[in-house]
Symmetry: C2
Subunit: 329 residues, 2 copies
DNA sequence: CGACGAGATGTAAACGATTACATTTTCTAT
DNA sequence: ATAGAAAATGTAATCGTTTACATCTCGTCG
């Protein structure tokens, strides 16, 4: 494997000059430049990034840490990050934790180690304390799904308000018995639930049957079954994710409900599945690409200008009305 | 940021001894080890991986390059890679190309640059020639979706045979007018189509109407519409991906078909969506986790023992019969 | 008691680039 | 022709580790 020294020798110049050509620096004569290019070509030389990065003390790599790539919600968010990063010469790589804190720590260590310049967290599985101590020293941004009480820039939507809007939609359709499928230990789910209850309270409704799932189809199915069996008076279900909402529709149908005639269902995230199922799913959409893009923007500022003030960027959500919700009969 | 020199000074030893402790080497007295650990603690020292990797000329990083994370088929494949890699101390990162050859080249350059030790390709978008010249010099494995004619180890299923089996299933149910939704420029799709036609030929059927999509729901919907309108006699459709198969079901239903009574549909991949839709989708399943695991195994062998003979590992597929296919009336 | 070997530690040379500073060459203006 | 500026190039230190080799310190054994 050829090094810069080999190239320099072959071209009859010093390594400094080769380096200048490599980095497009001015003040190298065309003749020399050509000789160097030829030597690079002949030796099939590739600069060793380890040497370069060591000297520069940066890598141009940015990590996105998320639980898994199976949630198609993340796809667009990550795309926003990638494109915004690429526009400023950062390479984005995806690291999956499978909700294993040790795996997350391992990836954060890559930043400690200087193998990556910074990290964007989606749905971290560490404690606020652990995260806090990390983010004091290294560039970190939280995006979308986050741990509260940590001094990182944060890019998300107003989940409480979104939950409120979902419930409002059902209430305006006349529903008064509304159940929720939430997810335990997920801050956004807590906020959505809070917002939902606030809307119910405005209609004088104190009762809000809630079951919990973990974002899988199976868990959503079970939660919906439980809700519908324990509270037969329910006419609507709000699930904090589309996958669980789809499962709820199926569970409802399997319990002799018709959606939306006897059971309305509203989801969250607007993933592909939500318009593939039948009936198509009413849901809350987030500006996924923009969330990712803004998060990357924040991270790059941090990497290049150091720790920033605790920024919190809140984006707009929208409700997408489809076939799964209807006025109560 | 503390360096190994700072730690050595503080502990009153040489950097060599600190390094020995860091790497768990023998022959350091307990007393010294303790002093060094204390110094590391006090200085909040983290070894700089850039220096280390430069010296060792390896990083322990492995890249998985794929078009996008939105295809949930990849999720389990990648999990197999991650776990098998982790078991041998390799860190796996996911890189998405969005089918952009320049992005793919950029990621391959990380290997050229020595920022990663090797790479697994799923559905590369480079030419066989370009890939070939890369894989002669660096550790590469292709997995699942591949470019033919390149000397990399390959881990996949027998796509031709799988296509044959899908068609056989429909033929045995009595279908004689079978359409295919394929994907242009995808080798596995070509093979599946070939296999399908071989099965038809065995039944003396020469006609096999084929339309093309690009794995998106929309494209599958359009392809199915086209097939059903141009060939009203069709009673069954084989789509080379579940997403397109689901779209075909919907298109069929929107054209007044009932699935499976008047139209049978079979897909490929067994993604979550395939059992969420109604009717649930008959499909061909691949051993996803095992594909990924075997691919990583191959890669590690290459990284640690150098270029291997052109290995091709073929895994078993299975047909999963659900509600979307039925005997012809 | 002295030699020897094992164990503990230190010295210094890599690894492959970048870059501040020094030097040489070339050009311009008088 | 020559001073001086500008352009081109070179020298060598540096980034933070690891590790071959050298050295030192003991305890053991004949």
């Amino acid at each position: 494997m050829a090094t810069i020294v080999d190239v320099a020798k072959r071209a009859g110049v010093s390594t400094a000059t080769v380096s200048r050509v490599l980095n497009g620096s001015a003040n190298v004569s065309d003749k020399t430049k050509e000789r160097i290019m030829a030597a690079i070509e002949e030796l099939n030389y590739n600069p060793n990034a380890l040497g370069r990065n060591l000297r520069r003390m940066r890598t141009g790599l940015v990590l996105v840490i998320l639980p898994s790539i199976s949630n198609s919600f993340f796809s667009q968010v990550v795309k926003g990050m990638e494109q915004t990063g690429a526009a400023q010469s950062y390479t984005t790589m995806i690291c999956t934790t499978r909700s294993n804190p040790d795996r997350e720590r391992m990836f954060l260590n890559l930043v400690r180690n200087r193998q990556a310049d910074g990290v964007i967290l989606i749905s971290s599985c560490l404690s606020a304390e652990e995260l806090q101590s990390f983010c004091l020293q290294y560039p970190v941004v939280q995006c979308s799904e986050f741990i509260p009480g940590v001094d990182t820039p944060l890019v998300s939507i107003d989940n409480e308000h979104a939950g409120y809007d979902a419930a409002q939609h059902l209430l305006k359709l006349g529903h008064r018995h509304i159940g929720v499928i939430a997810a335990r230990g997920t801050h956004s789910s807590d906020l959505r639930l809070t917002g939902c209850r606030r809307a119910l309270a405005e209609y004088g409704i104190a009762d809000c049957p809630t079951a919990y799932g973990n974002f899988t189809y199976q868990s959503g199915y079970g939660a919906a079954q439980q809700l519908l069996q324990e509270h037969p008076q329910l006419t609507a279900i709000f699930a904090v994710s589309d996958v669980m909402a789809c499962a709820a529709m199926r569970a409802g149908q399997d319990l002799e409900h018709r959606v939306p005639e006897t059971l309305s269902v509203i989801g969250f995230d607007n993933i592909t599945m939500s318009y593939v199922v039948r009936p198509s799913l009413t849901t809350i959409a987030q500006p996924r690409y923009e969330l990712g893009s803004a998060a990357m923007q924040q991270l790059i500022v941090q990497i290049e200008n150091g720790k920033q003030s605790h920024n919190c960027i809140c984006m707009e959500h929208t409700i997408i009305k489809r076939e799964s919700t209807a006025a109560i009969l």
